[in-house]
Amino acid sequence: MSINLSVNNQPYSIDIEDEQTPLLWVIRDLLNLKGTKYGCGLSSCGSCTILVDGEAIRSCSFPVSYAAGKNIITIEGLGSLEKPHPVQQAWIEEIVPQCGYCQPGFIMATAGLLIKNPTPTDEQIDEEITNVCRCATYYRMRKAIHRAAEIGLEQNKEGQLDE
C-alpha cells in the first residue's frame, strides 16, 4: 500500500507491504533519518521519541498507517545548526550528552513537553520525562530542560517585539 507522510515538513509517499510496520523503521530505513533510535521496540525506553502533530510519541510501537497525513517532526527537523531549537540550544549549553544514543529521544520528549507546558516544574518534569538514559545524564538534563524553557520564553518575547 502507499502512504503519504509529512516528515520534517517534507512530503513523502512510501510503498509498504505491511501497514503495521512501526513508524520507527520507516523513518530510519526508508527515509534514512537515523537520528531516531531503536532502544527496545516495546515502547519502554523512549529512544525512538518523535513529534506527531506536536505530541511526543514512541515511534517503535506506532504503526506507520496511523501517521498518514500527520505532521511528523524528528530530531533532524527540530532545529538547524544556524538556528537550534531551544531544547538543542540548552542541551549544548549544559553539555548534556555522554554516549548520546538516547539523547534525540530525550530532546524530542522535552520539545513535546514544552509545547504542552512551556515552563514545567521539577515535579512535572519527573512525571512527563520517563525515557531511559543508561549514562544517567538526568542531572544535566533537568538543568537543560529548565534552561530550554527560559530560552523558549526569551524567543517568544523577541518574536512578539518583532511583530
Partner: protein
C-alpha cells in the same frame, strides 16, 4: 639530510620490562604461591595499565588535511566517557593546533593504529597521557623540520601556533608543509611542554561530539549502512546454556521480504529486505536447543556463598585471621548484591560485508583487535584482510568487551554474498547479556577498647569478571588464582588498622558474567563501607571520624583522608536526622583514585529518595573538569540505579526480566536533584575517572537509611530490601 633514527622511548622499555617480569613470576607462583599471589594482587590493585598499541609512528595517529586540520585516528573508542575530547585536548596542546582544527575519528583496524587490548577499565587517558603527548610533539617537530629544511633555516628559529609555522618573513601552514612529503624525518622524542603552557589540558572545553549528538547525526553502529545491504536476524535461545541443534525454517522462508535462511553449525538466521521483515520472519523459525538444566535463582544463590568455590587471599597485614579465631567479641555481617544487566540503550549488532577473502565490519565494540581476530578465524581468512571499523558506542559499560556476534554476522554476509546488518532485539539483549555477577560478602571485625578496629576481614564470593574473559591474557588466571575483576574495590583501604585481610572466592556460573562499569567496585564497597558504618555505630563514633582515625600515614592515605575531609566539610556532614532527612557517608579507592560521597536521603511513601549527593574525588591531573564532573554525575546516578532498584533473577532456565520498566532503573524522577562534585588533583598525572565514582554510592545510601530508620539494608537492591524488612 639523513634520516635520524627514532629512539626507543622510555615507555616501550617499561612495557617490555613489565611483561618480562610477569613471565618470571610464573615460576615463583608455584613455589611461594600465597605471598606471591598477594603481592600480585596488591600490584594489580594499584597499577595503571600501559597503553598496549604501537606508539612508534605519529603518521598512523595524525593525518594532515589540505584545510590545515588534523584528523586524529583514535585507537580508543568513544562510549560517552569523553575520551575523544580528552585525548584531543592532550594531542592539540602538543601539536600546537586549536581544538577546532582537530577532528577525532575511530581508527579502523586496517589503518594500523590498533589498541591490542581494549577501551575499558578507566585507563584510556591515564595510559595515553605520556605516549600521546610524545606522539603529538614528535609530529609537530616533524613538520617543523620539514619547514626549516625548505627555508634553509634552523628549527630553533621557527615559531608555531594554530598549525601555522613562521620564521622571520616566512609563513606557512602544516598542510602546505605536508603536501608531497613521503619521507619524513622523525626526530628523537622531543621534550614535552611544561604543564603551565598548556592551553586545552585542564580546561572545560565542550565535547568534540556534542553537536552530532544533539542533532541526531548517524554516528552509532546501528546507524551504519552499506550499499545493497540486507537485514539479518539471528535466532537466540532464551534459556541459559542452550546449544543449537537444528531448526525448522519452512514457515519463515515464505514470509514477506525474506531473501534467505542461513543455517550454520551454531546458529540459524533469516535474511530479509528490511529489519522489520527479518524480525517478523525470525519469530516463525522453530529452533531446537539442548539444555542441561533449568536453572533457578535458588541454584545461583547456593553457588555464590563465601566458603563455596576456590579462595585466594588477596590482602594480608598483621594477624587478622588468628585474632578473629581467638576472639569472643567478633562482630560480623553478611551482604549481598544481585545479578546486574548492562542495559545500554544501543543493542549489540554489526554491519558486515564479506567479499572473497576480505571482510569489513562496522561495529560498536570496545575490543577492535579481538573482534578482528575472531572474524578472521571464523571466515578462515588473514587478519590483515579484515577491517573492523569502530563507531561511536550507544553505551559501553563493559558490555562490548567481547563482541563475538561480529563473526556470526560476517558468516551470514558470506552466505548471502551481500552486506548484512544484524542486531539483537531488546529481549535478546537482556537474556544474552554478560552480566555483573552476583556477590556474597562476609565481614568480621574485632574492636579495641578505644573503639577502633583491632582486626578486619572481608571475604567476597563472586561470579567471574575477568576469569576466562576475552581480554584477560591467558597466563593471568592461573598466576593470580583469583578474579581480579571480582575483587576490585574488595581490599581494605584503611591501612592504619593493624590487622586486616581480604579473601576472594571464585565461582563459575552457568551463564556469562563479565565486566560491568567498576567491576566488583560497587558491590565490594557496599559491603565494606556498610560494615564500617556498623562498626562506627557500635563504637559510638562519628562515621567520618571513625574512618579518618584509621588511615595510614603515606601518600595514598593522605589522598584518601583529604577527599573524606573535604566531602564532610562541603556537605556539612552530620550523623543526626534533620527534618526527616539523614546523611550517609562512604568512600572508596579504585586503582589510585580515592572518592568520598555523602548523600542526603529521606523515605517518601516507602520509597528511598536521594535528594543530594556531594562527591569529592582525586583523580590526579584533570584534563577536562566539565567531563570529569559529568562522569561523576553519571556514575553516581547509574550506581544509585543499580544499588536501589536493579536486579535480574533466574526462573525456569531463563534470565528475567527482559525489558526496561520490569528491569527497574533510575529515571528522571529518581535521580538526585543536586550533585555537587569537587575535584582534587593531588597527583602528577591523570588517573582513573570513569569508574571510581561508582564505588561509594550504594553504601552511602544504605548508611543514610540506617540513620533514618534504624534498619540496616545488607542486600541490594536496597529499595526491595527495605520493603521486605517492613513486611
Amino acid at each position: 639530510m639523513s634520516k635520524e633514527k627514532k629512539k626507543i622511548s622510555r615507555r616501550q622499555f617499561v612495557v617490555r620490562t613489565a611483561l618480562g617480569g610477569t613471565g618470571l613470576l610464573v615460576v615463583g607462583a608455584f613455589v611461594f604461591k600465597r605471598p606471591i599471589r598477594r603481592a600480585l594482587a596488591e600490584y594489580a590493585d594499584t597499577v595503571e595499565l600501559f597503553y598496549t598499541g604501537s606508539t612508534d609512528d605519529p603518521l598512523i595517529w595524525f593525518e594532515l588535511t589540505s584545510e590545515n586540520n588534523v584528523v586524529f585516528h583514535c585507537p580508543k573508542v568513544e562510549m560517552g566517557q569523553g575520551v575523544f575530547t580528552g585525548l584531543a585536548q592532550i594531542a592539540a596542546d602538543e601539536l600546537e593546533v586549536s581544538m577546532e582544527q582537530i577532528q577525532v575519528v575511530h581508527a579502523a583496524s586496517a589503518s594500523g593504529n590498533l589498541d591490542l587490548l581494549s577501551t575499558g577499565g578507566s585507563t584510556s587517558i591515564s595510559s595515553l597521557w605520556e605516549p600521546l603527548r610524545e606522539l603529538a610533539a614528535t609530529m609537530r617537530e616533524m613538520i617543523k623540520i620539514a619547514a626549516a629544511e625548505s627555508w634553509g633555516v634552523d628549527v630553533s628559529e621557527l615559531s608555531v601556533s594554530n598549525g601555522i609555522i613562521a620564521a622571520g618573513v616566512n609563513k606557512t601552514t602544516y598542510a602546505e608543509v605536508a603536501e608531497g612529503i613521503t619521507d619524513w624525518t622523525i626526530p628523537s622524542t622531543p621534550e614535552l611542554k611544561p604543564m603551565a603552557s598548556y592551553k586545552f589540558i585542564g580546561r572545560p572545553v565542550p565535547r568534540v561530539d556534542l553537536i552530532p549528538k544533539v542533532y541526531g547525526t548517524p554516528i552509532f553502529g546501528m546507524d551504519a549502512q552499506m550499499p545493497d545491504m540486507l537485514y539479518g536476524a539471528i535466532v537466540r535461545s532464551s534459556k541459559i546454556g542452550a546449544k543449537f541443534i537444528d531448526a525448522d525454517t519452512s514457515e519463515a522462508e515464505v514470509m514477506p521480504g525474506v531473501v534467505q535462511i542461513v543455517k550454520e553449525k551454531d546458529f540459524v538466521a533469516v535474511v530479509a529486505k528490511s529489519m522489520y521483515q527479518a524480525e517478523v520472519a525470525k519469530r516463525m523459525i522453530k529452533a531446537t536447543w539442548e539444555t542441561d538444566k533449568d536453572w533457578n535463582t535458588e541454584d545461583i544463590e547456593a553457588m555464590i556463598r563465601v566458603g563455596e568455590g576456590h579462595p585466594v587471599e588477596i590482602q594480608k597485614e598483621g594477624r587478622a585471621e588468628r585474632i578473629l579465631e581467638g576472639s569472643d567479641n567478633i562482630i560480623s555481617a553478611e551482604y549481598f548484591s544481585p545479578i546486574g544487566a548492562h542495559a545500554q540503550l544501543e543493542p549489540n549488532g554489526a554491519v558486515a560485508h564479506v567479499e572473497g577473502d576480505k571482510a569489513t565490519v562496522i561495529i560498536s565494540t570496545q575490543v577492535v583487535k579481538i573482534t578482528r581476530d575472531e572474524v578472521a578465524k571464523r571466515l578462515g581468512i588473514k587478519k590483515k584482510n579484515v577491517n573492523i571499523i569502530p563507531t561511536y558506542l550507544g553505551g559501553g559499560f563493559g558490555r562490548r568487551l567481547h563482541t563475538p556476534h561480529a563473526a556470526e554476522i560476517a558468516a551470514i554476509s558470506k552466505a548471502v554474498g551481500k552486506p548484512v546488518k544484524c542486531f539483537y532485539d531488546r529481549i535478546e539483549e537482556f537474556q544474552n547479556d554478560t552480566f555483573r555477577p552476583p556477590t556474597h560478602h562476609l565481614l568480621k571485625a574485632v574492636l579495641k577498647e578505644n573503639g577502633l578496629i583491632e582486626a578486619l576481614e572481608h571475604n567476597v564470593s563472586s561470579g567471574d569478571v575477568s576469569y576466562g574473559s576475552a581480554i584477560t591474557p591467558p597466563l593471568v588466571n592461573p598466576i593470580m588464582g583469583s578474579d581480579l575483576g571480582a575483587w576490585r574495590g574488595g581490599m581494605i583501604q584503611y591501612r592504619g588498622i593493624p590487622n586486616y585481610r581480604a579473601v576472594s572466592w571464585r565461582v563459575k556460573l552457568p551463564f556469562a558474567t563479565s565486566w560491568w562499569r567498576g567491576l566488583g567496585l560497587m558491590a565490594n564497597t557496599f559491603a565494606i563501607e556498610s560494615f564500617m558504618d556498623e562498626l562506627a555505630w557500635i563504637a559510638e563514633k562519628n562515621p567520618v571520624e571513625f574512618r579518618l582515625q584509621q588511615i595510614q600515614d603515606n601518600k595514598r592515605g593522605h589522598r584518601l583522608k583529604e577527599v573524606i575531609m573535604v566531602a564532610a566539610e562541603k556537605a556539612k556532614y552530620t550523623d543526626t536526622v534533620t527534618n526527616g532527612k539523614a546523611m550517609g557517608f562512604a568512600a572508596s579507592t579504585d586503582v589510585n583514585t580515592p572518592c568520598a560521597q555523602i548523600v542526603e536521603v529521606s523515605i517518601e511513601e516507602g520509597q528511598i529518595k536521594v535528594h543530594k549527593v556531594s562527591c569529592v574525588m582525586d583523580p590526579g591531573i584533570v584534563i577536562n573538569p566539565n567531563q570529569v564532573e559529568a562522569q561523576c554525575e553519571g556514575a553516581i546516578t547509574m550506581g544509585l540505579s543499580a544499588a536501589l532498584y536493579e536486579k535480574m533473577y533466574v526462573e525456569k532456565g531463563e534470565l528475567q526480566p527482559v525489558l526496561y520498566g520490569p528491569y527497574r532503573m533510575a529515571l528522571m524522577k529518581d535521580a538526585p536533584r543536586i550533585i555537587d562534585v569537587t575535584l582534587l588533583e593531588h597527583d602528577t598525572k591523570p588517573g582513573a575517572v570513569g569508574e571510581p565514582p561508582l564505588g561509594p554510592i550504594g553504601a552511602a545510601i544504605a548508611n543514610a537509611v540506617f540513620r533514618l530508620t534504624g534498619k540496616r539494608l545488607r542486600r541490594m537492591p536496597l529499595q526491595e530490601e527495605l520493603e521486605s524488612l517492613e513486611v
